[in-house]
């Protein structure tokens, strides 16, 4: 079982290189969120390296160091299987989700691993009612450079909600 990578917080020189890195990360995160909001979930695995960790996990489990997560993927194949299940098998009522991101911040750069912390808010709108605030939390990410781009070595969506209302259909 792959252990979650502990987020690092270490001084990062706040220079023009960091500004452009944060800009690149912001662009990436918004692209990922947009692909989910646009129902293009097939693109999702492409943002991860093969040997990745992706979890949507409660703050309760995360804080206690408990391994179980609402969505638990170790390795890109499990991320791909989430997409297959969603498209091929899962029975759910269609709705619209929308991601709102804020506070994207590089907290450490360590041996090529870029540790990034940010906030997310996801709204959910059923087809016959108003949108509700569905999930709120923090991404704890570790990015690595692959070719010209950045990809996730780890993406943890640690949610603050005590409950998930109804069901969690889509990756966060």
């Amino acid at each position: 079982m792959k252990q979650r990578i502990t987020p690092l917080v270490a001084p990062v020189p706040r220079d023009s290189k960091l500004v452009s890195l944060e800009q690149e990360i912001r662009f990436l995160f918004e692209e990922v969120a947009d692909s989910l909001d646009q129902d293009e979930v097939e693109r999702f695995p492409g943002y991860f390296i093969d040997d990745c960790i992706y979890q949507v996990v409660s703050r309760e489990n995360y804080a206690e160091g408990l391994p179980q997560a609402a969505i638990y993927c170790e390795g890109i194949n499990m991320v791909r299987d989430r997409v297959i299940a969603l498209r091929e098998t899962q029975v759910y009522v269609a709705r619209i989700w929308r991601h709102f991101l804020s506070g994207i911040r590089v907290t450490a750069i360590d041996q090529g691993n870029v540790h990034v912390r940010s906030n997310f808010l996801v709204t959910e709108a059923m087809s016959d009612s108003e949108p509700t605030m569905f999930l709120v939390g923090q991404y704890l990410d570790v990015l690595v450079r692959v070719g010209n781009g950045l990809r996730f070595r780890q993406r943890l969506a640690v949610y603050d909600n005590h409950h998930i209302r109804r069901s969690l259909i889509l990756p966060v």
Binding site: S58, E60, L66, N77, T89, R165
Partner: protein, 416 residues
Amino acid sequence: MEQAMAEEVTARAAARHWPDEGWSRIPYWVYTDEALYQRELDTFFYGPTWNYVALECEVMERGSYKRSWIGERQVVVVRGNDDAIHVWENRCAHRGARVCWKNKGREDSFTCPYHQWNYALDGSLQGVPLKRGVLKKGGMPADFDNTQHGLRPLSVHVEGGSIWASFSGSPIPFDEYCGEEVLACMRRQFPGKKLRLLGYSRQLIPSNWKLYFENLKDPYHATLLHSFLITFGLWRADTQSESIPCDEGHSVMVSRNVGKKKTDAAAEIARFKEALELHDADTVTPRPEFDDGKVIAITHFPSVVIHQQANTFGMRHVIPKGTGSFELAWTFFGYEDDDEAMTRLRVRHANLYGPAGFVAMEDGEVLSESQLGVHHYGHHNAVVEMGGRETERQDHMVTEVLIRAFYKYYRRALGL
């Protein structure tokens, strides 16, 4: 004429008259009636029954505690100085404020933040600040007796690492309440080995709490709705299985993990996806664990469904929140002596369950839609005749016998 008949049906429903067909019908008012809900709480949750509250592995050390629920009442589960488990209402004996403000933790004693009444781990009152007043003024009456003002303790039973409590001082004996069949299945999964906590998931499902028990008394739906179970042979109608109704509203469903295979029966099931292949087959491939080869789900009424599926174990604690909503608190666990590979499989297979589970996600959806469907249709009934109209155990899963047996019990318990 039609109008008169419709009025008659409405009047009988309004008078909470059970349909003449008996337990093969479920009137939809059972999911929405507020007065009935209160009677359910009093009878099933606050009566001489046993409710699941926690696992021992969540409160390992002396003074460690966990908040839990029985019906709509919050309780605290604490390991005492004598190593015994105590369960008390989280309600100060003084003014009713919650004494314990955190979901989990460890304390030497509990002090109500409001006026600092201090309680021992077992809930007994140890100290009242300013009890004798200040400068000979104020204070409690001389005859105020601490022993009469403790936190309300509950009866406690520990079964193989699972903790159960009752508001009654003289509950039905635990073994008797479970019955032989349920107890045997519990002891198979909880043989006394130490447990290891793997995590929690919490859902708020906008449906009546009983619909959840019915879902787990309905093997018929699982063979049709859940592609993952069907396709990967985790739960299929064409395997050797049993549907066993038990006393006190409990039941047991038994099946076997048979792997992915195509049979004539499977071909009839629309959601059998022969072409479906996963990139990571470990998610649906269990390691053999029980000698009997069985997969067992126990519905332990009224508080918990205990599952064993592939290599995932879970307590699904049902916490009602009014007629139209309940919390489903999942506690995933394994055994303390599991090897690393088994723990990995348990955590992977938990992807089947919880709010985003390949299987359970679909239950959250259909239960929510069921509540929306029955709302304002109290004069209509569900029809549960699959597998006949009787309530005896059956050796297959194409049946609603467990739901019928449950409503037979429910009507008797509530005098409906």
